[in-house]
């Protein structure tokens, strides 16, 4: 069985696709594209697909990953093109490589996020970020399926910065907008960008007046310098197959 790892993006309005919605659409795309999927055994066979930590509903992403099992080998680049054509624009397949070595999940150690905060003064944000960075621990609350949970949002944050270079948001508007750049370690319970925002409220009373726009820019293995490495690099074995 050939295993292929895929990187895809969730962009624009389609960032409101939930993980369940995506999974259904992806299975239909596999059929439309005629991908020779391998199936699980049993009474109701399922196509072999495993997903690596999916971005929350409403969060855009340039770096979502999954792995599929195939019953016959395909050319990964042809697969990338066929799958991309089979999915709605806005769910875009960026890369496909034949899997080698360790599991995909083992290579997801951290994520890089970018948070746009419209109508927030960058200087106010900078103060809140400074307070957050100075704290040893920032307890935040979140509603989970198990009920309300309290956990530390600080320890998992590897870096937190205000992006001063791009003061205007990606979709041009006259409204001022502060931008937060985050690198957060993959931990349990997971610390998501909205948990960090909760943390900024806890430490500095920061209350964004409108809903923030969040995008995941990268996820993968973490270097000693705090940079994130694409988990598919290890599969490529030096030879680049997928196109960006």
């Amino acid at each position: 069985m050939q295993r292929v790892r895929i990187r895809y993006a969730k962009r624009g309005p389609l960032r409101f696709t939930s993980h369940r919605d995506f999974a259904r659409a992806f299975e239909r795309a596999l059929r439309r594209a005629g991908v020779p999927m391998a199936f699980s055994q049993g009474f109701t066979p399922h196509p072999k697909i495993s997903y690596a930590s999916a971005a929350p509903t409403g969060v855009a992403s340039e770096a979502e990953y999954l792995e599929i099992g195939l019953r016959e080998p395909v050319d990964p680049d042809a697969l990338r093109l066929a799958l991309d054509a089979a999915l709605s624009p806005g769910i875009d397949v960026l890369d496909a490589v034949v899997a080698t070595g360790s599991g995909l999940a083992d290579r997801i150690e951290a994520s890089q996020w970018r948070v746009e905060l419209p109508q927030v003064d960058p200087e106010v944000l900078a103060k809140a970020v400074a307070a957050f960075s100075a704290a040893e621990e920032v307890q935040v609350e979140r509603m989970t399926k198990q009920g309300r949970r309290t956990f530390d949002a600080r320890a998992a944050v590897i870096s937190i910065d205000v992006d001063v270079a791009s003061a205007t948001p990606s979709e041009a508007s006259a409204v001022p907008c502060a931008i937060l750049e985050l690198v957060v370690r993959q931990v349990t319970p997971s610390v998501r960008p909205d948990d960090v925002l909760s943390g900024l409220r806890v430490v500095a009373g920061l209350e964004p007046p409108v809903a923030p726009k969040v995008i995941r820019l990268a996820q993968g293995t973490l270097t000693a310098q705090g940079a994130i490495v694409d988990p598919l690099d290890a599969d490529r074995d030096g030879a680049t197959i997928g196109g960006r």
Binding site: P13, T17, R32, G34, H46, T57, L79, A85, S88, P89
Partner: protein
């Protein structure tokens, strides 16, 4: 009344023909650009605050976004229920595709927004929008609303108001779209006559093209005479009903005296449209495939339209005559292309009584053969009670997946089945169900109605006997205790253009009492009762549906009052409030000298002018009355496909005819294609 999600099947890649290179298109990887009049920038910040935001986003496969300025005629199409129910609607999908195929015409879709988003939209001044390019509904020329059920009326009012369009048709100006109602409920649009500008009866495919042409010409001439002239032109077609051109006079006792045109050259009666030759209209070709979860995730193909079985309660069967079959080869081609386009793995062969297609046997075995080993699952809803259906179901489940079997005797006693003209005997049912059990089905579903004309407690209690006998016979035939049946009961609602249009409804408390007795009777034998599931709805929502179905223009004020008091999503049990309707009716109707009972539990006599008498479904009113009398004397009427014409009136008045096979053709094996395909059809 809560919605049920459709069954899900098993995913496997389907095989099919390769798409020719010439028509391949690889969509760009950038998101759609925002249209000039889009509300998206204002809507987007609200979406993280609502449930299931994906339903407001669009971006479905098969969706079309056209340039606003290069279109002459612009339609907003609405199914007035939540996206998850509205998106799979065949009618809207067909019209959307037919209209968007015209180079100078643009069609977008809009659905009812849930109260959480409605509240935010009102707070932030965001109007009702289309999901395709998020354009304000008010910017469109035409606003077409498809009513499968009258319970969507409050959602219509919510959408009109949220769109910033005046609620009353009389208050609208040239700046507002022309609101056109369609769908089965449009055969009596009188309760919403104050709110819509026009209504179209019957098949929509050609009607929307005709309306488009009238609008195009009127615009090309510089819009002479404004909105009034446009509506007059539509009315002159004799197939578009414009309520404002008709006056309704009432008798002192509240009944209608007459309905007459108030303008010269407006027809006295408006006639339904009938699309003949379904092979010439093979839609949907590019079914909409949503990202959000919806009630049906399947490629649905109508295998025929119309039904002449003559069930007297069935409005659909009466107003869609005559029977017009789609040929086996067209069905085969549509299934192949529809699956290839959509990636669905379920196919529904739809019609009002699918096993009645003249080539259903060859169709089922042909499709089963074509999709053997692919895990495409085929289903045949709306089947008859006979053993032939078990054969068809066997054929369709050759891939291993068994779909559920549902049989609809509709009435519990032989007598009541004669009243409703459902010619099924108890022996037929027992035989059929036992065949199903012996062929490996462990569970069947039996569907009945409660509240039928002339019904007594004993008619309903016989349902329990029937269910007991089904289990007893099933256990005897299989030697197993592991068999079950579910008894599902729906409330009867008399509908316009049916022989029961004169009938009195039963009071909700009587219905509820009968259902309680039935439940006791089913469980009277504990061993048998344990094998029988019992599902029913209480009588109250049916009474309100009855008010709206057979209402006249005076009922409009009740709908408005209910909407003002917060009524929305009346088809959903968790949103429907019987109390709200009863109170609104009590407040509004006495001023007209009538009340809720007058519309629902009152039997009409032969000479009463019914609110929809000026709307022509083709059915001869004398024939309908005769069929009503036949019902009361328990006389059965046979199907005109196999016995001589019984003069219901449709074919001669509509100049139509029965179109059925057999064609004698067969479905050929598909050539399996291996390798990756570049599918087409992502957004233009």
């Amino acid at each position: 009344m809560a919605r049920r999600a459709g069954g899900t099947g098993v995913a496997r890649p389907s095989t099919g023909g390769r798409v020719p290179l010439g028509i391949m298109s690889v969509p760009s990887t950038t998101p759609r650009p925002v249209a000039a009049n889009s509300v998206w920038p204002r809507l987007e910040p609200l979406l993280p605050q609502v449930t299931k935001p994906i339903q407001y986003v669009g971006g479905e496969l098969g969706a079309v976004v056209k340039d606003w300025d290069s279109a002459t005629v612009r339609w907003a199409l609405m199914y007035p229920d939540a996206y998850e129910v509205g998106l799979p609607n065949q009618g809207v999908q067909i019209l959307y595709e037919v209209l968007n195929e015209l180079p100078d015409t643009l069609a977008e879709r809009t659905y009812a927004v849930w109260p959480d988003l409605e509240k935010l939209m009102r707070a932030h001044g965001v109007p009702q929008f289309t999901v395709d390019a998020h354009r304000p509904v008010r910017d469109f020329d035409l606003f077409g609303v498809s009513f499968a059920t009258e319970l969507g009326y409050t959602n219509l009012l919510a959408a009109i108001d949220l769109a910033g369009i005046p609620l009353l048709a009389a208050d609208r100006t040239d700046a507002d779209p022309v609101i056109v109602a369609g769908g089965h409920a449009a055969f009596n649009p009188e309760p919403i006559a104050d709110f819509v500008d026009a209504a179209v009866l019957g098949d929509g495919e050609e009607a929307v093209l005709e309306i488009t042409a009238i609008l195009r010409d009127w615009k090309a001439e510089g819009c002479p005479g404004g909105r009034d002239e446009l509506l007059l032109r539509l009315a002159r077609t004799e197939s578009v009903y414009v309520p404002r051109f008709y006056d309704v006079d009432y008798l002192p006792d509240g009944r209608i005296q007459r309905v007459v045109p108030n303008r010269a050259d407006v027809p006295f009666r408006v006639h339904k449209r009938t699309t003949m030759d379904l092979d010439a209209w093979p839609y949907p070709k590019k079914p909409l495939v949503p990202l959000a979860e919806t009630v049906h995730e399947r490629y649905a193909v109508e295998i025929f339209r119309g039904c002449t079985r003559g069930c007297r309660f069935c409005q659909a069967g009466m107003i869609t005559r005559p029977v017009r079959e789609r040929s086996i080869t067209t069905v085969g081609q549509m299934v192949q292309q529809g699956l290839e386009f959509s990636g669905f793995h379920e196919v529904g062969l739809l019609s009002l009584s699918s096993a009645d297609h003249s080539e259903i046997g060859d169709m089922c075995s042909g499709l089963a053969e074509q999709y053997k080993g692919t895990n495409v699952s085929l289903s045949l809803p709306s089947t008859r009670v006979d053993a032939f259906n078990i054969e068809l179901a066997q054929e369709l489940s050759r891939n291993g997946r068994r779909t559920g079997l549902t049989f609809a005797p509709e009435g519990g006693s032989e007598r009541i089945r004669k009243v409703i003209n459902k010619m099924v005997s108890k022996d037929d049912l027992i035989r059929t169900v036992v065949t199903a059990y012996t062929n490996g089905w462990r569970q069947v579903k039996l569907y009945f109605m409660c509240g039928l004309p002339t019904e007594t407690d004993s008619d309903v209690l016989e349902i329990a006997d029937m269910a007991h006998e089904v289990i007893r016979a099933g256990r005897a035939a299989t030697g197993s205790k592991d068999i079950r049946c579910t008894v599902s009961i729906g409330g009867f609602v008399p509908k316009p253009h049916t022989p029961f249009q004169w009938a009195a409804m039963e009071r909700p408390e009587v219905i509820d009492g009968r259902l309680k007795l039935l439940k006791q009777a089913i469980n009277a034998d504990r061993s048998l009762g344990r094998a029988i599931g019992f599902r029913y709805h209480d009588g109250e929502p049916s009474l309100i549906e009855g008010l709206l179905s057979r209402g006249d223009r005076r009922v409009g004020a009740v709908i408005r009052k209910v909407w003002e008091n917060g009524g929305r999503f009346d088809g959903w049990s968790e949103h429907f409030s019987y109390q709200r309707w009863v109170e609104a009716a009590a407040e509004v109707l006495p001023t007209f000298g009538v009340d809720l009972d007058w519309y629902t539990t009152r039997e009409r006599d032969e000479l009463e002018v019914l609110p929809w008498d000026h709307l022509d479904s083709g059915l001869d009113k004398d024939w309908l009355w005769q069929d009503w009398q036949d019902a009361l004397s328990e006389y059965e009427q046979d199907d005109c496909r196999w016995t001589p014409c019984f003069d219901c009136g449709v074919c001669p008045t509509m100049d139509t005819e029965i179109q059925i096979g057999p064609t004698g053709r067969k479905l050929l094996p598909l050539t399996p294609v291996n390798g990756l395909k570049l599918p087409t059809g992502a957004q233009q």
